[in-house]
Symmetry: D2
Subunit: 135 residues, 4 copies
């Protein structure tokens, strides 16, 4: 399953090169992952159990610059799911275009927000994610 989010680039996303700053892409991609998580009911599940996903590895490749006022489409998909971690792929396109502006992969683990320790991905959360893994 591929989830799609549209986001519009604002002045505060850009830098003096005129395009989106590297660190802002990390935030735009996080926003897209949150919207995916909300759409499938994952945010509520995590909240109920006091858990949270955190990123332990991320790789971003910048292909085409994006400018203020442009709208992007973030395509997010769960690529793999292990017992305590997984990989999310996120590609950015300009809306209504098919060439890729950015390719990224985020490796995540699940943690208990109270103890900040890694915990296995089990139960209802695992069931939900298993349905989404790209085939």
């Amino acid at each position: 399953m591929i989830h799609r989010t549209e986001l519009t680039i604002r002045t505060f996303h850009t830098d003096a090169f005129g395009h989106v700053n590297n660190s802002r892409y990390v935030e735009l991609l996080e926003e897209a992952r949150w919207r995916y998580a909300e759409d499938i009911g994952l945010v509520d599940l995590l909240k109920t159990e006091g858990l949270g996903f955190i990123i332990v590895d991320m790789r971003l490749r910048f292909r085409v610059p994006v400018f203020e006022g442009e709208t992007i489409r973030v395509e997010t998909s769960l690529e793999s799911l292990g017992s305590a971690s997984g990989d999310v792929k996120q590609w950015i396109y300009k809306s209504n275009e098919t060439s890729v502006c950015l390719k990224s992969v985020f490796h995540f683990i699940l943690i208990d927000r109270e103890t900040a320790k890694s915990v296995p991905i089990e139960g209802a959360i695992r069931e939900l994610l298993l349905k989404l893994v790209a085939n």
Copy 2:
């Protein structure tokens, strides 16, 4: 007493207008307040007592744009101190220049970081701050 901090503007501080973005000024000014607090031993005092200052009101006036690669001088002074709050004035200049780029005032209160409740400014913290209030 006026405290001076020099900071250099990086690409990530700027936006597509070429100059420092409004929200980044808030961070540059916070950085300058932290350096002041470190220099006078306030950070250690706060940490020991589990307290923290938070901003409840801020006003910033932007006069002259600042660009990537430029170095600014932030002049910070404690303008007034009440029983549970106070005002910090921060003006930004370009280094080696005397015209003001930005004028700001931050109104702060002291809180207990555990309870997030406002507490009176007393004891060693009060003594320290009283010596710094602008005359």
Copy 3:
């Protein structure tokens, strides 16, 4: 006329106090002004003429902290319009609540994005804004 935008607070908007960081409010409020400008066709008008609004003075008062996962409602209204500047009022509420979390006023001017010089607010842009000024 009051424009309303709903925005959800993400982890990257918050800081170690657990609530939205001051500088992030500046960005959330900018986002809300952009959405207002888009909804009324102002963004296209500005682009066509190579103009942009910039903030020259801002005042923010923080009343109630907002936390990760909460949804806010930003109410934006044009309070006054002069020959070359104006004031926008923006108040933030938690969604479905009526107590104010943040009050702010932004004073803006219109500039030519090529020259970065202030220009009068005239023609189609003035006509559009005059209809929106709060009565």
Copy 4:
């Protein structure tokens, strides 16, 4: 050659997990690269020629969380230099500690800031960088 920069973590670098937010690491690492570039005279060289380095690929691995008030040491080294691109390695440690908090690699190209096109790394800039490549 390994360049070392010390930076202190402020509230605005952290998020509600209590530690430095992912996107803020990108900025802290950019700050450390700028300081390296300043220390060796590269910033002036780039400015004179109207050139700039931009990141086209970045990989960050988060090992140990860093908290508000902690001071980090960023170790930056130029790993390789091609005709038009190169790799910078940046590892973060807590000051006075030897365990790694973050490992990262940034792949960069040189561009003409006027045209935004990639240009070969030649002349004085190449000479300077060749001396720094890790052996």
